[in-house]
């Protein structure tokens, strides 16, 4: 059943493929080849990851949700499918960003041997996973809001939620400062560097899981 839903979403997205290629190429050309080459992997990753969310808009335009609920599929499977798609897109975006940046960087170096760009694989890997983390954070916030308010309204609510999260973050920082607690930033940075990829991946998994639980709770009783 999940396979059927995934197929439906992928077929929906296939009408996107031309614009997707243009966007990726445009970003690639604009960024890759400059000193900001590592941004390429982040931006490509974010674009691919975000596109998976547009399947919600396709469902909304076609008013598919009501029909899908008449098929032999549970609400749990409907929610789960959206997360599988989102996570798949994040992984694909990260991989594409990594490979394309590496590829274009090397091609540029071949074409312009007098103006070499230094591509560090480790840094590229970190930025790619950093980009994946960013997109998974956006997805984890946006998917439940779309389930709650719909694809169009959900977008506005998402910005409100992000705004409040930033305020809360600043508030916590302020309180820590007020309480006189000092954070050893250097130590924190060191730890992050040592484990950063593992920590980021674990954090992503936790974010997706919590987000899934919230989405399911919302959709369980939603009426179409």
């Amino acid at each position: 059943m999940i396979k059927g839903l995934l197929k439906k979403d992928i077929y929906n997205l296939s009408s996107y493929k031309t614009s997707l290629i243009i966007i990726v190429l445009f970003c690639g050309i604009a960024i890759i080849g400059t000193d900001a080459i590592y941004w390429g992997s982040i931006i490509i990753g974010i674009i691919v990851g975000m596109i998976s969310l547009s399947t919600f808009s396709y469902d909304e335009i076609s008013k598919s949700n009501k029909y899908i609920l008449t098929l032999p599929v549970t609400r749990k499977e409907i929610v789960l499918e959206k997360y599988i798609l989102a996570i798949g897109a994040t992984i694909l975006g990260g991989l594409l960003g990594f490979i394309l940046t590496l590829l274009v960087g090397n091609v540029m170096n071949y074409l312009r041997p007098d103006n070499l760009i230094d591509i560090n694989i480790e840094t590229l890997l970190t930025t790619s996973i950093g980009g994946m983390f960013g997109i998974s954070l956006i997805q984890s916030i946006q998917i439940p809001s779309i389930f709650k308010w719909g694809a169009e309204k959900g977008r506005i609510q998402m910005f409100i939620i992000i705004f409040f999260l930033i305020i809360i973050g600043i508030g916590i920082g302020f309180l820590i400062q007020q309480a006189g607690l000092s954070i050893d930033i250097e130590k924190l940075e060191q730890t992050l560097k040592q484990f950063n990829l593992v920590i980021l991946i674990i954090l992503m998994a936790i974010m997706y899981f919590i987000s899934y639980l919230i989405s399911y709770k919302i959709y369980k009783n939603k009426e179409e």
């Binding site: 197929k7 009501k66 029909y67 599929v73």
Partner: protein, 284 residues
């Protein structure tokens, strides 16, 4: 044996109440749900399909729909007026998606139906005319040979030729297997006169009429008379009346009885639409 049994279904919205609806859809029958727009037809269908939360019980194939939803839905084909899988898929895509949903999906049957309906396999659904879209929805709904079809306004917005074609499909579908049944809602009541076995009339969230189509059409009658004759007819002998410029029209549920009782020579045979209008607009 009933394919659908619903008991005391209630659902409250702002300004609307679906009020303790109960009815059955027997095997081998086509049941028509009629009523004005906003009367509660779609809400009833949504409650049957468990798309909305409602009070009361819904049994399909003798099983509670809330507890056996996935299993039951394998055996149901659904057409909704305003909703389908996606407007951005082609009929070929739909085949590939649907075979993952239904164990009994019959690809050959689906392709044959596409051919029969003249539907192109590689065109996006959004570019189809409304008649083509409806035919595709119906082909999709019957290609896993479901025991039960639930159709919400399957003929609305279609021209008479396409409507007849579609009604033919339903007729054949029932004839193929007598354990099958169809529940269809419509506000185009003439369609039902041709194909339905039972008619359920919902008005303002309540069932006000539930009976066999033949009996309704045979027994109900419209008496046309002047004011003087009208005043002689007792209130208990009619459902409602309409006052025209020159005459009164009266709807009765038992035309033979009335004919004898008041010595009336001619009584018109009403259409389902006439009956519906008398119930909604008539005076008591």
């Amino acid at each position: 044996m009933n394919n659908i049994e619903i008991k005391n279904i209630s659902k409250k919205y702002d300004g609307f109440l679906l009020d303790k609806i109960s009815f059955n859809v027997p095997e081998g029958s086509i049941v028509g749900l009629i009523g004005e727009n906003g009367a509660g037809k779609t809400t009833t269908i949504k409650a049957i399909l468990n798309i909305i939360n409602s009070n009361g019980t819904v049994k399909i194939f003798g099983k509670d729909v809330k507890q056996n939803e996935k299993e039951i839905k394998q055996e149901i084909g659904v057409v909704l007026d305003d909703s389908f899988l996606s407007a951005y898929l082609t009929p070929k895509h739909i085949n590939s998606v649907m075979k993952d949903f239904y164990k009994n999906w019959n690809e050959d049957k689906y392709n044959k139906l596409l051919k029969q309906f003249d539907l192109p396999g590689n065109k996006l659904v959004k570019d189809f005319s409304s008649g083509m879209k409806m035919k595709l929805k119906i082909a999709t709904a019957i290609s896993h040979n479901p025991k039960l079809l639930i159709l919400d306004e399957p003929t609305s917005g279609l021209d008479p030729v396409v409507r007849n074609e579609i009604l033919d499909i339903f007729r054949k579908y029932i004839e193929e297997d007598e354990t099958r049944s169809i529940l269809l809602s419509t506000h185009i009541t003439t369609d039902l006169e041709h194909i339905s076995d039972y008619i359920i009339f919902i008005d303002n969230g309540k069932i006000i009429l539930n009976g066999q189509t033949n009996e309704l059409l045979e027994n109900y009658g419209i008496i046309k008379c002047n004011k003087e004759d009208f005043s002689k007819i007792l209130k208990e002998d009619y459902i409602s009346y309409k006052k025209g410029k020159y005459q009164y029209e009266i709807l009765t549920t038992n035309k033979e009885k009335i004919k004898k009782k008041y010595n009336i020579l001619s009584i018109d045979k009403p259409s389902i639409e006439d009956i519906m209008l008398f119930y909604i607009k008539g005076e008591r």
